[in-house]
């Protein structure tokens, strides 16, 4: 019997590719975010409001990830920004290879901000680095304040938490202080924004944070 010592990360292929992407983004002075959440938290709605606010100030492009359909890309297209739809055909997350392929259709030197909207899923996208500067987790008040405790990995791996649908707080069983505390117990370094894509509340703060991170 013999033993071969390997010591290799299972997802190292993805990590290597993500590191290449990160280099590519850096070369082009791009600010890149990867938005993750469960389905229906309002990722695309926040993105629409964000584009409305930032249009004319910066050039941005969007990569949309969904299991099926190009419905989200169509929503974004209306704002006349470059958008690529990745359909995963059942895949539960985006990986670095899918993002790399999508980049073929985007001219990186033309933009300063790239948004990757991941597949709606509060579990799997947590493990896959896409070369982004920040992973942004969106949690809506309708999902309940206990979700950070129930799905910790996503909150461990994210840097920013957007609590969306704050306009619904009077109607839903969600204590926003509890939600914040739960998220910060899982990851004390999280920066938190509170938004409503419907009323536009909090979108200004969120957009200011983006603008402060733009590198060109």
């Amino acid at each position: 019997m013999s033993i071969i010592t390997i010591e290799r990360k299972v997802l190292e292929k993805n990590d290597e590719l993500a590191a290449q992407l990160r280099n590519e983004f850096k070369k082009n002075k791009l600010f890149v975010i990867n938005i993750v959440s469960s389905p229906g938290s309002g990722k695309t709605s926040i993105l629409e409001k964000t584009i409305e606010k930032l249009k004319g100030k910066i050039n941005l492009a969007v990569i949309e990830g969904d299991v099926q359909t190009d419905l989200d890309a169509k929503r974004v297209e209306k704002y006349n920004v470059p958008v690529v739809q990745i359909v995963t055909n059942g895949g539960c997350h985006l990986d670095a290879k899918l993002v790399k392929d999508a980049l073929d259709s985007i001219n990186l030197s033309d933009i300063s901000f790239l948004v990757i909207e991941n597949v709606g899923n509060l579990v799997c996208p947590a493990g896959y680095d896409l070369g982004e500067d920040y992973k942004i987790v969106v949690l809506s008040t309708t999902e309940g304040d206990d979700k950070p405790l129930k799905y910790p990995k996503m909150f461990i791996n994210s840097s920013i938490l957007i609590i969306n649908k704050v306009d619904l707080l009077p109607y839903v069983n969600c204590n926003i202080k509890e939600l914040r505390d739960n998220a910060l117990m899982i990851n004390p370094d999280l920066k938190v924004f509170e938004t409503s894509a419907t009323t536009g509340a909090g979108i200004d703060d969120w957009c200011e944070w983006i603008l402060a991170n733009i590198k060109k």
Binding site: E7, G91, G127, K153, M185
Partner: protein, 113 residues
């Protein structure tokens, strides 16, 4: 949920690290999987057993060593464990700490006949 693609990545890692003439001799694949790696050990085991049938590693058995979630408290200067993923030090209740282990997923060893 993505255990199947993870199992396929593991097969690729074995292929890259074992000489081709020894593929048939692979008995055991040893893995370290963190408590908060996002992977269900039983499910990964199941997927590997399905995937391996299409590979030269048909008799390979997967052994998974679970790695606990360990924090290093910057105030107490000690390591503490926390099985619910909360970043709180067991001793002082503080949140000023860094993650030592528990989020990893590594192939560590392959045993041949």
């Amino acid at each position: 949920m993505h255990e199947l693609s993870v199992a396929q990545s593991i097969v690729e890692i074995i292929k890259e690290n074992v000489p081709e003439q020894d593929y048939g001799k692979v008995n055991v694949v040893l893995l370290e999987v963190g408590e908060f790696s996002g992977i269900i050990a039983d499910s990964l085991q199941f997927c590997f057993d399905a995937v391996k049938l299409e590979t030269p590693f048909k008799k390979a058995r997967m052994e998974i060593k679970k790695v606990p979630f360990v924090l290093y408290c910057n105030l107490c200067k000690v390591e503490t464990t926390n099985s619910n993923g909360i970043r709180m030090c067991d001793k002082c209740g503080g949140f000023d700490n860094s993650i030592v282990s528990g989020t990893e997923m590594r192939v560590t060893e392959v045993e041949l006949d």
